[in-house]
Symmetry: C2
Amino acid sequence: MAETEKKEDRRVRRTKKLLTAALTQLMQEKQISEITVRELTELADMNRGTFYLYYKDIYDMLEKIEDSMFEALDRIIDLEENESVDRQTKPILLKLFQFIEENQEMCRVLLSPNGDMSFLHRLNGVMREKCLRFFRAAEAESWDGDFDYHYNFLMFGTAGLIRAWVNRGCPESPAQMAELTDHMIRRGGLDLQNN
Amino acid sequence: MAETEKKEDRRVRRTKKLLTAALTQLMQEKQISEITVRELTELADMNRGTFYLYYKDIYDMLEKIEDSMFEALDRIIDLEENESVDRQTKPILLKLFQFIEENQEMCRVLLSPNGDMSFLHRLNGVMREKCLRFFRAAEAESWDGDFDYHYNFLMFGTAGLIRAWVNRGCPESPAQMAELTDHMIRRGGLDLQNN
DNA sequence: TGACAAAGTCAACACAATGTTGATTAATGA
DNA sequence: TCATTAATCAACATTGTGTTGACTTTGTCA
């Protein structure tokens, strides 16, 4: 459990970084399933056996990368919770988008057609915990047993927003995106007349 | 291009149906990438060589299954367009949810953690065309260059709703879901006070 | 109904990626 | 500096792949 224990040997850091870079590149070109350990290590210019020192297979590697991302996200958002006393969603969204911007390369491939559904689901799960406190406290009794539906709509919608944003290369600032997301969540996307 | 040309030999239909059932089952248990042609055909109780008569590999098979789903969806929604003259989003949503209900097994696995990101993206693309006419004609000039963001939020949000629904086994009727979705799209998920 | 065409079976094949090994060399950090 | 640990390299059995040709079974349609 004790993550980032002390910090690894420089060679280990180097190796993992090279492998991650190679994987990110390959995932832009093809399905994860089509990526072999052989070509990954060839691209990273290292011995094939070295890969197995750290990962069981490609999927195990991707999962471990996601692990460390979620850990970082966890730290950031828990920190936020202490700072802000008010019940706004915006601060938490701002932190989220700042995090996405910093990890935009990996987020882009994970949300691309070659991406990983389980990443979406994990993001869904992690954010759900964070959001529950905000939502439940607010006057959200209106959705009773429908919370699941409401939450899934808003979370997946936000994921769609993130996807579009990273696909464009994050031209807007995290603050702008947090503002837009907050607006979408509160007032919906269609400002139509009531029919 | 000429799809469903005449209709295939009964043996071909049988084979493809058995393979599809086997794939659906296996995808509930494991990642697509971990599914081998060998075990798939063993489960379907047929010769391994038979698989290669129709599909290049597992991914090719999944893609072809998705193809036929999108074809069916296309027909349904194009039909709808002729029937309804008004500019409501609800009729199109109703047809969508009816379609999902009929294909709920496959939809459930495709949207599960073991699912297929490219399915989401294809759904995104197909529905985008359909929705453009409705949205553009409506008073939706408010979002100008931001259409992409709005659309992605609403489409992914709807996908999240679909996911939650099929995961529960579609207890609500398609009409109820269309109503809920319409509400989410128009008024957003949070009915909070304007802060 | 019966004949022909097409689908499915079976065994065999070369090929490629996997995951693991033991011995050796190189880099790190205290 | 030196003991420790990472990385390399070659080799290995194993497994899935994709394809072949000869065969048996099944469906279609005249």
